[in-house]
């Protein structure tokens, strides 16, 4: 069997609109559980909003951090690592080791603590 990555995109909302979306939670939970039970789920997660992102790049030769998500669209998503880290510094230290930063960008985004029960 092959593996596929499903990338989920949406505009970011707050307040009432966010509450409306949160009302879908049972549908999300049901989807995740059914994939799990069928043995089809590798990993899934919900990201914190883009304001929590840090982008790492070394295209100029030195590693540079940028506050915020990666924004240039001509580069394409090429892969991912889902890692465990105690804090942002440790996650950034992993990002610095990714060879792609010499010609691209690594966006480091924290996942939310999800309690699906």
């Amino acid at each position: 069997m092959a593996q596929y990555m499903l990338l989920l995109y949406a505009n970011e909302v707050e307040g009432e609109e966010l509450a409306e979306r949160e009302a879908d939670l049972p549908i999300w939970t049901e989807l995740t559980k059914s994939l799990e039970e069928a043995g089809l789920l590798v990993a899934s997660g919900r990201l914190h909003r883009t304001t929590s992102a840090t982008t790492v790049s070394a295209m100029s030769g030195e590693t540079e951090l940028t506050d915020g998500p990666f924004a240039i669209t001509k580069e394409a998503l090429a892969g991912y690592y889902l890692i465990e880290a105690d804090n942002l510094d440790e996650a950034l230290n992993v990002a610095r080791r990714v060879p792609l930063i010499r010609y691209g960008h690594v966006e480091v985004r924290p996942l939310m603590d999800l309690d699906l029960e």
């Binding site: 992102a53 105690d86 804090n87 942002l88 480091v108």
Partner: protein, 409 residues
């Protein structure tokens, strides 16, 4: 008009807030919650102290009050993750027999943690500056907004966003490890110097607010000196800020024109600040860790002498150019060499800069070029360079001065 109790609260706010906040953040693990609780504690001080008198140790009083407010807030707020754990820890601290005595070394560490968190490189520079002023300085959001000429809600959003990122992305609340420390200290110094420069160099905005920024930056510099006395550049930056600040009153003439050091009225210089600055520079030099701030401070110290030692200033600019090879440093070096070894030697260094596209519209380059050409006897060249500088000048007073020099050729 002066109310002694209100003064005591204001003084406690200025002197103790950062330390109280820094320790509480470690205890509750949440920037926003800690800040709200400290705010509550100050509000409580404003009502309690006039009635019961100012406590013997205001810092300890505020620490206990802020912790209790944090407990109240945590009990009310059910949305906080690991709330029970945090509550238990706070209650345990609150019930200790001598709850008010935080060891001095812990206070130092907490304030360092706070500084490194506020100046974390994963935060936007504008957010680092705002957060540092808010958490470690005594400025309100409104004051910071006025100092940086943005609307108060904009500044408020910037600060809230930064605090949210600290929480969501888990920016660590700790002093960086030894191998990361030099780099991170440089980052902190950059934030403090940026605050100072914003107050010192900007020409727009409320003058009083801007002076407040210089004072805050120097206060931060003094705090860093207290917390990290072994870092040469910490002393170097402090020296640089004090030496610049000593000339604050003499920098502008009655018409608002900026005066070069040699044009300033020396009787307006603050001698005490100069002495403090020179002492800090000495300490920095003795630590034998040369850096850009120490070099700039040394240059300034030489420039304020009645007859500056231009060859030495030129050498120091040469060393600075090796550390921070920017066009502006190169320009200053060319000017210094022009005084040390004559206008031709200065021109030899300055001429290549004229081809730098980044400097094509940089007025000081053309003004310095004109000055050197004039002294070298090339009147036509000097006139052309002055005309270029005048064309690029955005300031009426400055333009008038350049025109005066053009006429004087």
């Amino acid at each position: 008009m002066s109310d002694p109790t209100a003064d005591a609260v204001a003084r406690a706010f200025r002197d103790e807030r950062a330390a109280v906040l820094a320790t509480l953040i470690r205890h509750v693990g949440d920037f926003q919650l800690a800040e709200d609780a400290v705010q509550d504690a100050y509000a409580a001080a404003l009502t309690t102290w006039p009635r019961d008198g100012v406590p013997a140790n205001p810092g300890a009083w505020l620490t206990v009050a802020a912790r209790r407010r944090a407990i109240d807030r945590l009990r009310r707020d059910r949305s906080v993750a690991d709330r029970a754990e945090r509550l238990a820890e706070l209650v345990r601290l609150d019930q200790q027999e001598h709850p008010v005595v935080t060891p001095e070394s812990a206070i130092v560490d907490d304030r360092l943690r706070l500084i490194f968190t506020c100046c974390h490189p994963a935060l936007d520079m504008a957010a680092r500056v705002a957060l540092t002023l808010r958490a470690l300085g005594g400025l309100t959001t409104g004051e910071i907004a006025r100092a940086f000429l943005v609307a108060e809600p904009t500044m408020g959003k910037r600060i809230v966003r930064a605090k949210r990122k600290i929480a969501d992305a888990r920016i660590p609340y700790e002093v960086p490890r030894d191998e990361e420390l030099p780099d991170r200290v440089r980052g902190v110094l950059r934030v403090v110097y940026l605050i100072f420069n914003e107050g010192y160099s900007a020409t727009e905005g409320d003058r009083l607010v801007r002076e407040e920024l210089c004072n805050e930056a120097i206060r931060l510099g003094l705090l860093l000196r207290e917390l990290m006395p072994d870092h040469g550049e910490v002393w170097g930056l402090l020296a640089l800020m004090l030496l610049h600040d000593s000339r604050r009153a003499a920098r502008v003439d009655k018409r608002g024109r900026y005066l070069a050091i040699e044009e300033q009225d020396r009787s307006l210089w603050d001698e005490t600040r100069i002495r403090e600055g020179l002492r800090a520079l000495e300490r920095s030099v003795r630590l034998r860790q040369p850096g850009q701030y120490q070099l700039q401070a040394a240059i300034t110290a030489l420039q304020i002498e009645p007859s500056p030692d231009w060859p030495q200033i030129a050498d120091l600019y040469g060393a600075l150019a090796k550390l921070t090879p920017t066009a502006v440093v190169e320009l200053n070096r060319a000017v210094a060499v022009g005084f040390a070894d004559g206008p031709q030697a200065g021109l030899a260094l300055l001429t290549p800069l004229l081809d730098d596209p980044a400097l094509a519209r940089y007025q000081p380059l053309h003004a310095a070029h004109a000055e050197l050409l004039g002294r070298a006897g090339d009147r036509d060249g000097a006139a052309r360079a002055y005309e270029k500088a005048i064309e690029l000048s955005g300031n009426a007073v400055e333009r008038a001065e350049l025109e005066r020099r053009l006429q004087a050729l």
